[in-house]
Symmetry: C2
Subunit: 227 residues, 2 copies
Amino acid sequence: IIELKDINKVYRTQHVETHALEELSLEVAKGEFISVMGPSGSGKTTLLNIIGLLDTFDGGSYLLDGDSVAQLGDRQMSRLRNAKIGFIFQSFNLIPDLNVFDNVEMPLRYRGMKAKQRREAVCEAVATVGLTSRLKHRPAQLSGGQQQRVAVARALVGQPNLVLADEPTGNLDSAMATDIMDLLGQINEKGTTVIMVTHDSELARRSKRQIHLLDGKVIDLTMVDPH
Amino acid sequence: IIELKDINKVYRTQHVETHALEELSLEVAKGEFISVMGPSGSGKTTLLNIIGLLDTFDGGSYLLDGDSVAQLGDRQMSRLRNAKIGFIFQSFNLIPDLNVFDNVEMPLRYRGMKAKQRREAVCEAVATVGLTSRLKHRPAQLSGGQQQRVAVARALVGQPNLVLADEPTGNLDSAMATDIMDLLGQINEKGTTVIMVTHDSELARRSKRQIHLLDGKVIDLTMVDPH
Ligand SMILES: Nc1ncnc2c1ncn2[C@@H]1O[C@H](COP(=O)(O)OP(=O)(O)OP(=O)(O)O)[C@@H](O)[C@H]1O
Ligand SMILES: Nc1ncnc2c1ncn2[C@@H]1O[C@H](COP(=O)(O)OP(=O)(O)OP(=O)(O)O)[C@@H](O)[C@H]1O
Ligand SMILES: [Mg+2]
Ligand SMILES: [Mg+2]
C-alpha cells in the first residue's frame, strides 16, 4: 500500500539545515500494524507527515496504492487524504473554538454525508473514547488526555483505510493507553493499516512490526552492537 | 512551604458542572520531590495550576510559605509566581512567534536582569537540555520532544524555589526522559522543591513521595482494595 524509496527531507531555516530524513526506504503492506520508534528528533513525525500527504519531500519516490504521489495536485491530495487517511497528531491539532462534537465531525463534512449520518458516526466515535459527557466542551475545557482522546475519535470517525498515529497515548495513564491500543488493534483486525509512532516499547510490542529511526534513517537493530 | 486545606474547584460550562477538586488537602515541605499520579481527568493539572497561582479555587485555603494566597492581588500573584515558581506545562505553552532563545529568556525579562546576565542564563539552561543548536528555531520548527525540552529550560532558567512539572517527559524517549529526571533530581538536591505530575510509575519511583488523585481527591492507595 505504501512504498517509500530513498526519501530525503531537508528543513532549511535561515541558520540551520536539518536533514530530517536521509535516503529512507520503507514498504508497508495493506493491513499491517507497524510501530515507528526512535529518539526525539529522529524524524518520526516528519515520516508520518510525508506518508500522510501533509508534507512534501525533496528526493526519492512515494507510491501510495501503486500511484506516485508526486503527480498529485493539492486538490487531489486533500481528497485522497480525507477519503483514506486518519491522522492522530502528536499535538492533537484540535480547533480551539469548536467543541468536541464539531471537532470530531470535521472530517465527515468534506464527504457530503447527511447530517443525521454524521451525527451517528460522531456520537459512536466519541463513545468509543469515553467522552460522551464532554460533547459540548471546547478543547481548553478538557484535560490533556481528554484532548488526546478527541484527536483519536476524529481520526477514526471516517473509518479510514490507513491510520497514522503520532504518539497517540503520550498523555494517557496506562489504563487509558491500553484502551486506545485495543481500539487500534480492533480496527486493524478489520483491515485498516495502522502506522503508530511511539517511544513506549511496551506499546510497540503490541504491533506486529517495529521500525527504528535514527537521524532520519531506518536502522536495523539486529545489526546494532548491543553494547 | 505549601499547605492546601479542603480545596474545592468547580468548572462550570453551560452544560456541565465538573468538580475537578473536592476537599483536597495536601502539605508539601520545602525541598521535597513529589510525584502526583492519577487517571486522565482526575485533577492533576488543576491541582498544579492552583499551587502555581495560575488559577483560583472555590473553597478551602492555600498557604504558600505561610501566607494565605487568598489575600494576594493579581499583581502580587504574578510577581510571586515569577520570582519563586518555574512551571513546565503539559502542552509546553511556548510562544509560537518567538524563537527558542526568546522563549527561554521570557521569565528573566520580568526581573530587571542585565542583557548579558540573561544571555548567559539562557544559554546555560538551553545547553542543559541539549538544544544549543536550535537557539534560533521557532517552536513549529522543533520536534515534539524538542519543544518539551525548551519548556523545561524556560522553567529552570530563573532558578526557582519551586518547580511544577506537568508531565515533563511525555514526548521523550526513555534516554531523554532520564536526562530530564536527572536534571530535576539535581536541582532538588540543591534545595528546589519539585512537584511533578506523571502517569509513568517508573519515573514516579524516582521522587521521594507519590500522591495519587482520583476524581479530584487524594486517595491513600494502601487502603485501596488490590482487586
Ligand atoms: N518545520 C521545521 N523546520 C525546521 N526543522 C524542523 C522542522 N520540523 C522538524 N524539524 C527538525 O527535523 C528533525 C526531525 O523532527 P521530527 O519532528 O520528525 O522528529 P521526531 O522524531 O518526531 O521527534 P519527537 O520524538 O521529539 O517528536 C528535528 O531535528 C527537528 O528539529
Ligand atoms: N477549563 C475547564 N472547563 C471545564 N472543565 C475543565 C476545565 N479544565 C479541566 N476541566 C475538567 O476538569 C477535570 C480535571 O481536569 P485536569 O486537567 O485537572 O485533569 P488531569 O488529571 O490533568 O488529566 P490528564 O492526565 O488527562 O492531563 C477534567 O474532567 C476536565 O474535563
Ligand atoms: Mg514527533
Ligand atoms: Mg493534565
